[in-house]
C-alpha cells in the first residue's frame, strides 16, 4: 500500500514537474519544427511565387528564426482575421504576420519588440479623382478586415460622417475591389501598396499619398505567458538589426529608406 502511494506520489510529482517545465521554447526545439503564422496575400511581406510556394519578408524572417533555433521552419498560411485563433489553437508557435502590437490585443497575446514598421499610404482608383487622404471623404473606401489600418480608417469614416467603409477578408480582395472600381480608395501599408501597384495586375490604380495615421509598428507574437520564448524573440529581433540581416532583407523585399524600429524618447 505504502509502495503504491509512494509510486503514485512519484508519478504525480514527475508529472507536475513535467508540466512546469513544458516551456514552449523547449517544445519547439524538441519537436524540431517551428510553425509560423504568415499572411500570404500581403506582398512583399508574404506572398506566393509561380509555383504557389510562400515567399516574402515574413517568410524569410521565419526561416531565420528557425535557423537560430536550429529547427525546420513550417509556414502556415493564415488570413488576417485568423492569426490569433491559429496561435491560440496551437496550430502555430509564433506569428510572423505583420501584426500591429496594440494594447487591446496585448491583453490576449504576448508581443515581442517591433520587428518592422509601416507607413500608411492611400491607394486610389484613378477614375475616382482622389488625390490625397482628405479627398477620400464621402467616398467608398475599404481595407483588410482586422488590420491596424482598417480599424483606423473605419473610425475616420465614422468621424467624417459620410462615405462608406468596407472591410474585405484579404488584402487581395481589397485590391481586386479597388481595381474593379467597387471601392474608390484604400489605406494600406505603403510597402503593400507599392508592391501591388508594381505587379501591374491592377490597372488604373496608383499610390496617391500618405495617410496621417501613426507609424504602424508590427511585432512577432506568441502566447502571452511564454516569457521564455518572448525573451528569445526580443533578442532575435535585436540580433537581426545588429547583424545587418534586417537591412539586407529590407533591401531584398522592399528597398529604400530603412525604417527605424525604435520610438524616440521611449524605453521600448
Amino acid at each position: 500500500m505504502k509502495m503504491i502511494t509512494l509510486a503514485a506520489a512519484l508519478v504525480a510529482a514527475t508529472g507536475f514537474a513535467g508540466v512546469a517545465q513544458a516551456d514552449k521554447l523547449d517544445d519547439i526545439i524538441a519537436s524540431g519544427t517551428l510553425r509560423c503564422a504568415v499572411v500570404l496575400d500581403f506582398p512583399p511581406m508574404g506572398m506566393r511565387d509561380a509555383n504557389n510556394e510562400p515567399i516574402g519578408f515574413d517568410v524569410d524572417y521565419c526561416n531565420d528564426l528557425a535557423k537560430a533555433l536550429g529547427v525546420k521552419a513550417e509556414i502556415v498560411e493564415t488570413p488576417f482575421p485568423e492569426r490569433i485563433p491559429a496561435l491560440m489553437s496551437g496550430r502555430v508557435d509564433v506569428g510572423v504576420a505583420s501584426t500591429s502590437d496594440t494594447l487591446e490585443r496585448a491583453k490576449t497575446v504576448g508581443f515581442s519588440v517591433p520587428y518592422f514598421a509601416f507607413e500608411m499610404a492611400v491607394t486610389a482608383n484613378e477614375k475616382s479623382g482622389i488625390k490625397s487622404f482628405d479627398d477620400m471623404k464621402g467616398h467608398t473606401v475599404g481595407a483588410t478586415a482586422g488590420t491596424f489600418e482598417a480599424i483606423a480608417l473605419e473610425k475616420q469614416v465614422q468621424e467624417w460622417g459620410t462615405g462608406e467603409f468596407r472591410p474585405y477578408q484579404t488584402q487581395a480582395d481589397v485590391f481586386l475591389a479597388l481595381s474593379q472600381g467597387q471601392i474608390d480608395a484604400t489605406v494600406s501599408t505603403s510597402t503593400v501598396a507599392m508592391a501591388n501597384v508594381k505587379t501591374g495586375n491592377f490597372p488604373g490604380i496608383s499610390v496617391v499619398g500618405k495617410a496621417p495615421f501613426d507609424t504602424d509598428y508590427v511585432a512577432l507574437f506568441t502566447n502571452r505567458d511564454e516569457y521564455g520564448l518572448i525573451n528569445y524573440l526580443n533578442l532575435f529581433v535585436n540580433q537581426q538589426v545588429r547583424t545587418g540581416r534586417y537591412a539586407e532583407l529590407y533591401e531584398k523585399w522592399v528597398g529604400g529608406d530603412l525604417p527605424s524600429l525604435t520610438v524616440p524618447n521611449a524605453y521600448r
Partner: protein
Amino acid sequence: MFHTALTSADLIFLAKGAGMTILVTAISVFIGTLLGIVFGVLRGQLGPIWFAPVTFVLDIFRSVPLLIQLVLANAFVGMVLRLHISGLTVACMVLSLYTAAYCTEIVRGGIHAVPATTRRAARSLGMSWLQDMRYIVLPLATRIALPSWIGLALGVMKDSALVYVVQVTELLKSTQILITRLQEPLFLLLICGAFYFIISFPLARFGGYLEKRWSND
C-alpha cells in the same frame, strides 16, 4: 479564346484543393451518417422525451451558421482546451456533427414511414427486434431516406467550402489564392463553380431519379 496566365502547376494546385474538398466531405459524411443512424434508431427506441437532450444538442448544429460553428470549435479546442489538433480534424469533427444532426432527422423520418402494422406483423411472425430492423425496417426506410441522404451529402460538400476558416485549403480557398496571384477572378471562379456543379449535378439527378422510381411502386 481565353488568354490566361494559368499554368499546369496551378491546375494541379486547384486539383489538390478539389481533393481536399472531397476528402473532408467523405470523412464527414461517413462519420456523420453512422452517428445519424445511431441517433435516429435510438430516438425511435427511447421516444422523443427521453431523447430530448440529444435532440436539443443536434438542433444547435442546424440553428447556428456553420462558419460560427467552425470558428467556435477551433477556438474552443485550441484556446480553451489547448489541444494540438490540426484544422482538418476540427473541420471534420464539426462537419460530422453537422451531418449527423441532419441525418438523424432523415433516419427518423425513414423509420417513421414504415407502417407500425407492418412491423407488428413482423414481430408477430416471431422476428426479434434486430430481425425486424434488418429485414423489414432497413429496406423500407432506405427507400424513403436515400434520396434525402444524397441531398444531404451534396449539401455537406457545398458547405465544406467554409472550412477555409480553420486553415484547410479546399477548392474555393485554392481558387482565391490563385485569384490573388493571377487576377482573373471571373475565369477562375467559373472553373471552381464548374467543378462543384460537375460532381453535384449528376448525383442530385440520380437522387431525384431514385425518389421518383421508388415512390411509384
